[in-house]
């Protein structure tokens, strides 16, 4: 269990699932959740490389930053979603097509 590949595999599966969510979900919040999964997968990689790949503490610091970013991203994204909802009365991203010709 203590091999890099395991972690990488888990992380890539997690990443793919997140991706799947982003690609298939119509609901903005659900897309956001997919993004969170991807970010977690990335963090997992960082930590895995920190533990096995010689990245050491730097990897952890990066992961920390990613978490910070994720928090910020989530806050802003949700604000946008709420705003969209207020304007369009939906958060279905397909319906938000004002910019479409």
């Amino acid at each position: 269990m203590d091999t890099l590949s395991n972690y990488l595999l888990i992380s890539s599966i997690l990443f793919s699932l997140g991706l799947f969510g982003v690609v298939t979900r119509r609901n903005g919040v659900a897309v956001l959740m997919g993004v969170e999964l991807i970010l977690n997968a990335a963090n997992l990689n960082f930590l895995a490389f920190a533990r096995f790949g010689g990245m050491n503490m730097s990897g952890q610091v990066y992961a920390l930053f990613v978490i910070v970013l994720a928090a910020a991203e989530a806050a802003v994204a949700l604000a946008i979603i709420i705003n969209i909802f207020n304007n369009f009365n939906t958060i279905n991203i397909d319906d938000v097509s004002e910019l479409k010709q």
Partner: protein
């Protein structure tokens, strides 16, 4: 003095004083008292005095070989040099005197005649320019300066003939005079070029030397001579360029006198006299024919003219023909002699006619009659009693021109006819020249007396006008008296006295030189021939003069022969003569108009065809080409090929439209597919 040499200084002053008068009058004349006429008259009188003193000096020297030449460098490019200068010999001095004298008379005569003219100062200025140019011709020692002054005479005649330019006829006449002269000048210039090319100089003396050294000979020399003669044809109004002279009568009458008696037209004859040594026998023969034909031809026109000045104009043409004839037959001294005598009596006749016209004009003016032509002899008659001086002087001049003994014209005409007769005697195939000469003499006597009889004798044809006729004032009659006096033979034969022989200072001091052309008759041969033919010629000329005068007397004085009946009898010929053989009409019809049309056509071709279609055609072709390339580029390349790619992409896009959902997620998916492909490629 300027150079220290009297002859040179006098010539310089004679040349430039009138020019100075011109400059002063043209710029300041309006502001000077009496509009500056005194400037001009003063200048010309000084000129006259100088010319007279030269003349006196010539007489006192009594040297027929007198020759004086000065020149300065005008152009010097190394090899190409032109020197301009004077060549003074006895011919020059006599000619200077003639020009100054007639010009002075004209200046004085105009004082009254031109009084009150709107452009009085300019008139006097132009007279000065004219005198300057003429003196320049006289003094020239080379073809180039001769040509320069030649053209200046042309332009001053243009200005003077067109003095009353408000009249269309005057404007036309001035232009015609200039252009007709230029036709002659073309030939003149070609002659100059041939001579210069062959000999490399313009100087008369060097040209003569060149010809005698056979640097140029044969038909080329003949051609050159004829070219030079063409200048004379234009200036001296010889057939077929005679058309300008009668029209030039549109100028003020004193100008006609100056121009047609002594200066401009004489220039042509003077040229042939000067250049006589250059002419080959062939050229001289042609010159003789031109002169002889002009003499008779103009005389026949003069018979029927009713305008007093037109008669004199054609008479001038005819007399000039005489002079040219004399040159042609080799007796060029006679030509110059006639030029001299003719200048006096013809000037007198012109002034006389001016006096008559002046009187008529004033009379008609007082009657407020502006329709009657004051120059038409049919409105005159019996003026003798009213204008005794004019009548007398004109009669004297007419006797001179008719060739009556005791008068100058007899001597000179006799010399010409003798020369012609001798020429015909040695060249019988040219017998017609003698016929021309003698019949022209008869006709001249006839029409000149016709003029006198119609004007001064008989009963007044318009009594009302006649009542208003007065003798002209003294400034006009004095010149008449002077010139009439100079029409007597004595002035040309001093110190000898023989009314039937031209033996005198003239023949002593002005001797014919040999022709420079090898093979031409020498001066001695010609002189001997003339001497031999002299008596016969004198008899014949007396006979023909008497014939002409008698006919005129019976027809116009006694009226025992009806002029009307005769003119009807010769209806066709009469009309031909009256209409000057339709020369103007035919020139107009066959030369000017076609040429103008050709010019218009050329301009049309140039502007409306060549430029519009050919040059602009380039523009159009370029435009069309660019349109085609544009279309090729747009339709062919851009629309078909480039857009074709686009359109196929569009078609594909249409098909793949489902992919273009506008959903981010779809795009992402495709991006993902791309990533996978990359990954797969990378891995394998």
């Amino acid at each position: 003095m300027i150079t220290g040499n009297f002859t040179t200084d006098a010539c310089l002053l004679i040349l430039f004083l009138p020019l100075l008068a011109f400059v002063i009058n043209i710029f300041f004349g309006k502001r000077l008292p009496r509009q500056g006429d005194w400037v001009s008259i003063g200048a010309i009188l000084i000129t006259l005095v100088l010319a007279l003193s030269l003349f006196v000096e010539m007489l006192s020297n009594w040297n027929y070989k007198f020759s004086h030449e000065v020149y300065f460098s005008w152009i010097d490019l190394g090899a190409f040099k032109i020197d301009l200068g004077f060549w003074v010999d006895n011919i020059t001095i006599v000619m200077l005197l003639v020009v100054s004298l007639i010009s002075s008379m004209t200046h004085i005569f105009s004082l009254e005649y031109m009084k009150g003219d709107v452009r009085y100062n300019r008139y006097y200025a132009y007279l000065g320019l004219f005198t300057f140019s003429m003196n320049g011709i006289v003094l020239a020692n080379n073809l180039m300066s001769l040509y320069i002054f030649w053209e200046l005479v042309g332009v001053s005649s243009y200005l003077l003939i067109g003095h009353w330019f408000e009249k269309h006829s005057a404007a036309d006449a001035s232009k015609k005079a200039f252009l007709t002269n230029r036709v002659g000048d073309i030939g003149f210039f070609i002659g100059i070029m041939i001579m210069f090319t062959a000999i490399g100089s313009f100087n008369f003396q060097q040209l003569f030397d060149g010809v005698s050294n056979e640097l140029i000979s044969g038909s080329l020399l003949t051609l050159a001579g004829l070219g030079l003669f063409m200048g004379a044809v234009g200036k001296s109004s010889q057939f077929p360029l005679h058309i300008w002279l009668p029209d030039a009568m549109e100028g003020p009458t004193p100008v006609s006198a100056l121009m047609h008696a002594a200066t401009m037209v004489a220039a042509g004859v003077y040229l042939t006299v000067r250049l006589f040594p250059l002419f080959t026998v062939d050229a001289l023969t042609i010159i003789a024919y031109v002169g002889g034909f002009t003499a008779i031809f103009a005389a026949t026109i003069a018979i029927t003219q009713n305008d007093i000045k037109k008669v004199l104009a054609y008479s001038t043409v005819s007399q000039l023909g005489y002079m040219v004839l004399a040159v042609g037959v080799g007796n060029y001294v006679a030509a110059f002699f006639h030029l001299l005598t003719h200048a006096m009596f013809k000037a007198c006749l012109f002034y006389g006619s001016g006096s008559v016209i002046h009187a008529m004009h004033h009379s008609l003016h007082d009657m407020h009659d502006h329709d009657t032509d004051p120059q038409d002899m049919r409105n005159m008659g019996g003026f003798k009693s009213k204008m005794p001086v004019t009548s007398m002087t004109m009669t004297i001049a007419t006797l001179a021109i008719a060739g009556v003994p005791l008068f100058s014209g007899f001597l000179s005409k006799d010399a010409i006819l003798a020369g012609t007769l001798s020429f015909v005697q040695s060249n019988p195939e040219h017998w017609i020249l003698a016929l021309f000469g003698f019949s022209a003499a008869a006709i001249t006597a006839f029409y000149m007396f016709r003029l006198i009889f119609m004007t001064f004798y008989g009963s007044p044809r318009m009594p009302k006008v006649f009542d208003g006729i007065h003798e002209s004032p003294k400034v006009m009659t004095y010149p008449l008296v002077v010139l009439a006096g100079l029409s007597f033979f004595i002035f040309y034969t001093v110190p000898y006295f023989n009314p039937f022989k031209d033996y005198g200072w003239f023949t002593k001091l002005i001797k014919a030189g040999n022709s420079a052309v090898p093979g031409n008759p020498t001066a001695k041969e010609i002189y001997d021939g003339v001497h031999y033919a002299h008596d016969a010629a004198m008899m014949l000329s007396l006979l023909v003069a008497a014939l002409g005068i008698g006919l005129s007397y019976f027809m116009y004085y006694r009226k025992s022969l009806s002029a009307e009946a005769w003119s009807k009898r010769a209806g066709f010929l009469y009309n031909l003569s009256l209409n000057k053989y339709y020369f103007d009409e035919n020139y107009n019809k066959f030369l000017y108009q076609p040429f103008l049309r050709l010019s218009r056509a050329v301009a049309y071709v140039d502007w409306d065809l060549y430029d519009k279609y050919f040059i602009n055609g380039f523009g159009y072709v370029t435009k069309i080409l660019s349109k085609i390339t544009g279309r090729l580029d747009f339709d062919g390349l851009d629309q078909t090929l480039v857009d074709g790619i686009g359109r196929s992409a569009q078609g594909a896009g249409k098909n793949l439209k489902t992919m273009q959902t506008g959903r981010l997620q779809n795009y992402m998916l495709f991006a993902l597919i791309g990533v996978i492909i990359i990954l797969v490629v990378q891995i394998t």
